[in-house]
Assembly symmetry: C3
Homo-oligomer: 255 residues x 3
């Protein structure tokens, strides 16, 4: 299980190596997730032109595919980037933002899952359930919306796909298909700013770039989120200030 | 006339129902307006792919069309989304950012006005005048730049189109073609951060999603802006801090 | 050499005239650079549709071309906007973000350099070196990564192209091909938030819009960055707060 010592070791590695994390992500959160990566000690790059995907992935240490503001062009770039990352043995984190909300998002998430086989999928319970649908036989996929119930479905999805699944919520659940890790922490204000989930995904990529045990990497990223969220909440009683203090807390993080 | 009691009732409804507001908006303000909606208690979604417009509108309670960073593709999506919203009886707020600055913007605003017939148009005086041009016979459209003079033109535009017109400025004016409501408040620092007008538009959509009297909804949104702006200004003497305190103030709003 | 008096005069002109600066820039920093311009007293506009480039440039006082999140469509718009600005005698600032990282970026930077001949190019040392490659004969282009060594290459590039070159780093170097100006100041936290370089580019455009001596304008923009960075660092010990205080400091700037 992830403990504070191994967490600190990986955090130190991020701060020392400053791994470049390439995100193809949604417009809404780009500034916030770039600052999230810089605060933890990693380096962000955002690029989406198909013409530069291979080169950009080649100089990066991890890739984030976030479908929050999709277009067909960007999906195409996600596939090119994803395939390049896999060929080069670099971890891919899929954030299926809004999967289940529209068929384009659900289908895009499924296609990325099937063709790229991301090392880690990070989403909230309903997004993970949308991804699991038609991939998992477990009853309850249709109706379950509770993170704790969703974790069994996620476990089956992880076992079937080989992807580590990270479900964020009041309690976070991370599973590799065999084991389940839980992470407590955070604060309700995290749900009152946009991009907290997306921030969790880029931190997951940062930890995955320094730890090939992706189950541990995904867990540690959620530990970082939880600790920073709690620290921020001690200094903020409203979401504007919270967002700023959250970035500060990631920078000062020392579990 | 909107008073504090009816304002509080609508604010409570937003906080209770957390209506999903779908924005097709400009890149510059997406993070800020998403956080604006979360702060007031609503839920934001941003999506622009034509393929998912109908589904996204179908799960939303209101739609914002903001032409701040236009492209032909996005205009196409705005029309699809707008028509879907109208078919489903969901309020559409048009924010004609920069109408008058380029012919593409003026034309796009006119086409959205004519084809979608938005429930509410919110802009500053010069944008509203640009929209009114060739739609309104009142003299002075060519030269007027003062909000107080613009309101008569806006009133005629509202009467002719059936859209409620909301003009933001030092004093805000809202008209349904018969009545004119004025809202005082705010602070000059609101003009020193980007996206204040766009924030007013998404708040207008949030209030319109809980109050079918769109004249009242538009007025209450400007009351929220004014009150939050004043509260933020009490804690900030410069625009960086102001932006943060404005979000905090919306969250804490209790007229 | 730039002194505090001439700096203050140009700053006053920006605050008085509020020049409109048109940016075609990357998605990540749009909100931050728009707020940077508003804080210093200028006005931002972002637009990228080829159809409105000529009109938008016509009402603007300066143009920023930033290749941070490129696509072929946007490059096309950059060329239209750049040519229009040159025809109208308006200063163009090129920010070759990530030049050297991918061949698409390097090629785009070279094409913009050759075809638009920007008045000022602002980047970090490695970006400037990537732009200089194949344009400058000086040995060391291949390997040099140090700002102080890069400045000689930049000087040759400036002499050959006629563009003022502004290299940001711990010490900033500005050269017109004959003279070299250095600017100290700033803070390491500037490297821990995204968009500091992009902010320097829009400030460079703002100063260039009020001072036709582009060597001086570029220098003064870096003086503003340095002074605001130092002021922000006095009030912040982490990057979230730093970003906010940096905007505040630009607003309060009074060297």
């Amino acid at each position: 299980m992830a403990n504070n010592k191994s967490f600190s070791e990986d955090l130190d590695k991020i701060r020392e190596k400053s791994p470049l994390v390439h995100s193809i992500t949604n417009y809404v959160v780009m500034n916030f997730t770039a600052n999230t990566l810089l605060a933890i000690g990693a380096s962000p790059v955002m690029a989406h032109a198909p013409e530069e995907m291979e080169e950009m992935v080649s100089i990066s240490s991890a890739l984030v595919l976030n479908i929050g503001t999709l277009s067909n062009k960007w999906i195409e770039s996600m596939h090119i980037a994803g395939k390049t990352a896999k060929k080069q043995g670099k971890p891919v984190v899929l954030d299926p933002v809004g999967a289940g909300a529209t068929s384009m998002r659900t289908r895009s998430a499924h296609e990325l899952l099937d063709e790229i086989k991301p090392e880690i999928i990070r989403g909230n319970a309903s997004e993970i359930l949308a991804v699991a649908k038609s991939r998992v036989s477990t009853k309850g996929v249709e109706s379950t919306l509770d993170a704790e119930e969703a974790v069994e479905i996620a476990k089956e999805l992880a076992a079937k796909t080989g992807s580590v699944i990270s479900i964020s919520g009041k309690t976070d659940f991370i599973t590799d298909g065999e084991n389940i890790e839980t992470v407590e922490g955070g604060d309700p204000l995290m749900g009152r700013i946009t991009g907290t989930g997306c921030a969790a995904s880029v931190l997951t990529a940062a930890f995955a770039s320094v730890n090939k045990n992706y189950f541990m990497a995904a867990t540690k990223a959620m530990m970082a989120m939880g600790a920073a969220g709690e620290a921020a909440a001690r200094e903020a009683d409203a979401p504007g200030t919270f967002q700023i203090k959250f970035i500060d807390a990631l920078y000062k993080l020392d579990l």
